[in-house]
Symmetry: C2
Subunit: 164 residues, 2 copies
DNA sequence: TTTGGGACCGAACGATCGTTAGGGTGATGG
DNA sequence: CCATCACCCTAACGATCGTTCGGTCCCAAA
């Protein structure tokens, strides 16, 4: 709160003419984060090659991380400090996001665009881990699309030479 | 400190008969974490198929995460609260760990066991991201080896069907 | 012109937390 | 037997932090 007030050029107490509590602020940022990531997924077309949609989803996620790093940090890490009902509803929203991701891989498998023995749970976990971890090192001005493409290529084609 | 004292069945102040400061504790755990992860990497043989060594490295990392979750959490996340010189030396140790990981992928490419156009930096980043993120969801009793193997399979062979 | 209200200040409150101080106990070893 | 020392307690200190409160200023609506 002190830092926030200082960044606004205002005394600590003056903040409370605009907000109710610190917890409210965290909740607002968490909601904003959920909205941003879901919005990025909304931009992914719901038909066309699954591979391209996965690439678009990773691009979108990384873009949110890079361009709204603070919001993303709350969505990814700081949400833990939410309390009570807000915490529960946030977790549900977060699970929904992961589920939407997983559905991509499931559909890819079912359509035969991905390997038929694909473990879509592990696949979604792997993909989401890679982009979720990005908030720890990603710079705001990084070329996120090309990075997402490199991740996509690695995830889809693997690191072995056989498939090239 | 209060929680720690309570867990030990002791008053807060009594802790200081054994330690110097809270910062010292964090430093100790951070060092323990670095030691554990490096030790896990030491168990990986330095010859043989690179693919198997990568699998072993991921297994080792996940095992440390699962079995020493608190230590791993400090190594992965809480080290940020280290200060001064300790912070710097820790970061160096952490970078060295990442570099050892990356060397695996580089060697795999150079030996022709991995694709010749492999971006070993991105590959190491992807692999480390996947296992680093695990501390957020991994349960202590999880079958980490099989999980590491699933990750290894996905990373090496990819999610596309072509290579199977 | 008066009134109401939003924005802000300055100060303080109350809680938490890491740490210190002073004193007590009991076991150990010279 | 006595001194030492490790260990622990209670109490308090000082700093930080989120929040409250009374008061001032100023703009806009009545």
């Amino acid at each position: 709160m002190g830092d926030l007030a200082q960044a606004l050029g205002v005394q600590k107490g003056s903040l409370y003419a605009h907000i109710e509590s610190k917890a409210d602020l965290l909740w607002e940022v968490a909601r904003e984060g959920a909205e941003a990531f879901h919005a990025a997924l909304d931009e992914v077309p719901d038909d066309g090659p699954v591979v391209e949609r996965i690439r678009a989803a990773l691009r979108g996620h990384l873009r949110v991380v890079a361009q709204q790093l603070d919001v993303a940090t709350v969505f990814i890490r700081e949400w833990r400090y939410l309390e009570g009902e807000r915490r529960d509803t946030f977790i549900a929203e977060r699970r929904r996001y992961e589920e939407r991701f997983r559905a991509l891989f499931r559909e890819g498998r079912e359509r035969g665009e991905l390997r038929t023995d694909l473990d879509d749970g592990a696949a979604a976990l792997l993909a989401l881990s890679s982009v979720n971890w990005a908030y720890t090192w990603l710079r705001r001005d990084a070329g996120t699309d090309s990075l997402a493409d490199r991740f996509t290529a690695l995830l889809l084609d693997g690191m072995r030479g056989y498939s090239s």
